[in-house]
Amino acid sequence: MRTITYRDALREAIREEMLRDERIFILGEDIAGYGGTYAVSKGLFEEFGEKRVRDTPLAEEAITGAAIGAALGGLRPILELMTINFSLLASDLLVNSAAKFHYMFGGQPQIPLVVRMPGGGGAQRGAQHSQMFESWYAHIPGLKVVMPATPYDAKGMLKSAVRDPNPVLFIEHELLYNVKGEVPDEGVEYTVPLDRGEVKREGQHVTIITFSRMLHVTLQAAEELAEEGIQAEVIDLRSIRPIDIDLILDSVKKTNRVVIAEEGWKYFGTGQGLAALIYEFAFDYMDAPIQHVNSADVPMPYSKVLERAALPNKSDVVNAVKAIVPQALVHG
């Protein structure tokens, strides 16, 4: 094991897969000469050349369509959309073409496509550059949507995504790239499945379900709660579609209490969808209403004082847990 950043883990996954399979290439805005807006593809242009590391014009529709077409033509493109905020310009091609072709053409075409894009706020980038749209895409049958939170999962899931025969939206977070974590030594081959969540911390008093950057905030909250005797079980969804429902239910049936901590907006978002699912399958096990931790229901403000207030933080998670975990339960 080594300790490397989320960014390096992603680059290793891309590089190792490109060495393994000639059909894999990457394309996107500023991924070659610039090395990628978040430096994920740094050095790959120098190593693989312009055929397999392709800078594109600013044309989200064209590059997304081109990636879909290349996949239909037998290649395995990894498309980087600079941020998920700009994916709205490509949403038609992702939803009306990539997600539907296999079905509407009777199972004939396959689209082994990976679309990498970071989302999220926290860097004062303002309303248009701080969003999470995973629930939009997870609503669509025909797509897979994954959001790894650790370097280990990032590398393992990106490899699985590249090998997957379906279109996979691989959603990163702008504030995760510098996060460090343990990853097997180079050459030690491993993958992480695209349909399994993971218990990142065990506990019996409450289940906190989270994903992406909020996993780290949640783990800190769990530490703080532990000091007060509250043992929180932390589940990292990792994949939003498909969703690992049984892993969640196992935990919920043990703790009977749930907090969902996510960065996106609350209404008609991922957390509400998840809560509805839990109630549907574990209604009788729920001892308290599920608590939601989200960003404020407003466009993200620029000013740091307002942005800080808008984003969910550790104490939001702690308070949400305390709201449903009675003292008695802990000390009784």
């Binding site: 081109a66 033509g73 009777g106 379906n166 498909p242």
Partner: protein
């Protein structure tokens, strides 16, 4: 083929007769589809190709069997021209399991990996960037196949048109973009929608070879397409063809076409019919006898009838089909369990 029996545009009499037969087949097939639509055998949207046959047949005759095509929702013609069995097309229209998309696609969404027919996209212009990508896959793999992408005059107004041509041009992709300018996008007359009166300046705006072609003359279409196809196949990159044509019917089965005059339609139907025009040419040049043409037409009618009968007698998909083909690996929204209604 021996030089001796070259006749028109380097095509043998056999090829010319075959082209005539295919045009007749498209016509008869569409007439039959219209009939079945009115009988309620076909649902949803159905966009007929009648009047535009010379474009699909002329252009696709210029392709190799292993070249690929992409089209819009108005694709029956392209599908059959590329070699799709009329039975499979009609069965798809009927929503039967024997259809080329198992009945899941319908009129707008037909596909065949073998024939290189890559859909049938219902989103105007969406096939354009995808076609660029398919062409990229050929260039990337060093193949000498090319892509032909058909789209309408309305698609020209979409951002995807611009982004695709620019990308195809800078990457020198082996794709031929063929605009079937049938003068209308639904009820919108092209001269009202375009800020230009021809696509030539648009081709120039992407440094692409551009040509305007009479879409009612199948030979002219064939010759222009041939040039563009060779250009692409020889690695010189994409080109843009504006093929002027006219749809004899409404936009779709439910469109009474009030936005244009019956005179205008009559004018085109009578004086510019691509099949009539081609037949006259073949006869004038003694390249075919009336009997041969009649026989082609009779065969076409027969095949269209047969397709309808086949579709009629084919079974609908089993209800299980509702849940197949969503994902290649049959994964679903919930891992471990498949939720069905």
């Amino acid at each position: 083929m021996a030089i001796s029996d070259l006749t028109l545009a380097g095509l043998t009499r056999t090829q010319l007769l075959e082209m005539h037969y295919k045009m007749a087949l498209l016509r008869r097939f569409e007439e039959k589809s219209a009939e079945e639509y009115t009988r309620g055998k076909i649902g949803g949207f159905m966009h007929l190709y009648i009047g535009q046959e010379a474009v699909g047949i002329g252009a696709i005759t210029a392709l190799r069997a292993d070249d690929k095509i992409l089209s819009s929702y108005r694709e029956h013609g392209h599908a059959i021209a590329k070699g799709m069995e009329p039975r499979a097309v009609m069965a798809e229209l009927f929503g039967k399991i024997t259809g080329c998309s198992k009945g899941k696609g319908g009129s707008m969404h037909m596909w065949s990996n073998e024939l290189g027919l890559m859909g049938g996209n219902g989103i105007v212009a969406a096939q354009m960037p995808i076609a660029a990508g398919v062409a990229l896959s050929m260039q990337y793999q060093g193949l000498d196949t090319i892509v032909a992408c058909f789209f309408g005059d309305g698609a020209v107004d979409e951002g995807a048109f611009h982004e695709s041509l620019n990308l195809a041009s800078i990457w020198k992709l082996p794709v031929v973009y063929i605009c079937e300018n049938n003068q209308y996008s639904m009820g919108m007359a092209v001269e009202k929608a375009w800020a230009v009166d021809s696509l030539i300046p648009r081709a120039v705006a992407y440094t692409l070879p551009g040509e305007q072609v009479d879409g009612m003359d199948v030979i002219k279409v064939y010759e222009a397409a041939k040039r563009a196809v060779e250009h692409a196949r020889s690695g010189k990159g994409p080109s843009l063809l504006e093929v002027k044509t006219y749809r004899f019917r409404g936009h779709s089965m439910t469109d009474p076409a009030y936005y244009r005059s019956r005179e205008e339609e009559q004018q085109w139907r009578t004086s510019r019919d691509p099949i009539g025009f081609f037949e006259k040419k073949l006869l004038d040049l003694d390249l075919a006898t009336q009997a041969q043409l009649d026989e082609n037409d009779a065969r076409a009618t027969e095949i269209a009838e047969d397709a309808a009968e086949f579709a009629e007698n084919s079974p609908f998909p089993e209800l299980e089909e509702l849940y197949t083909d969503v994902m290649v690996d049959n994964s679903t929204a919930l891992s471990y369990r498949y939720e069905k209604k």
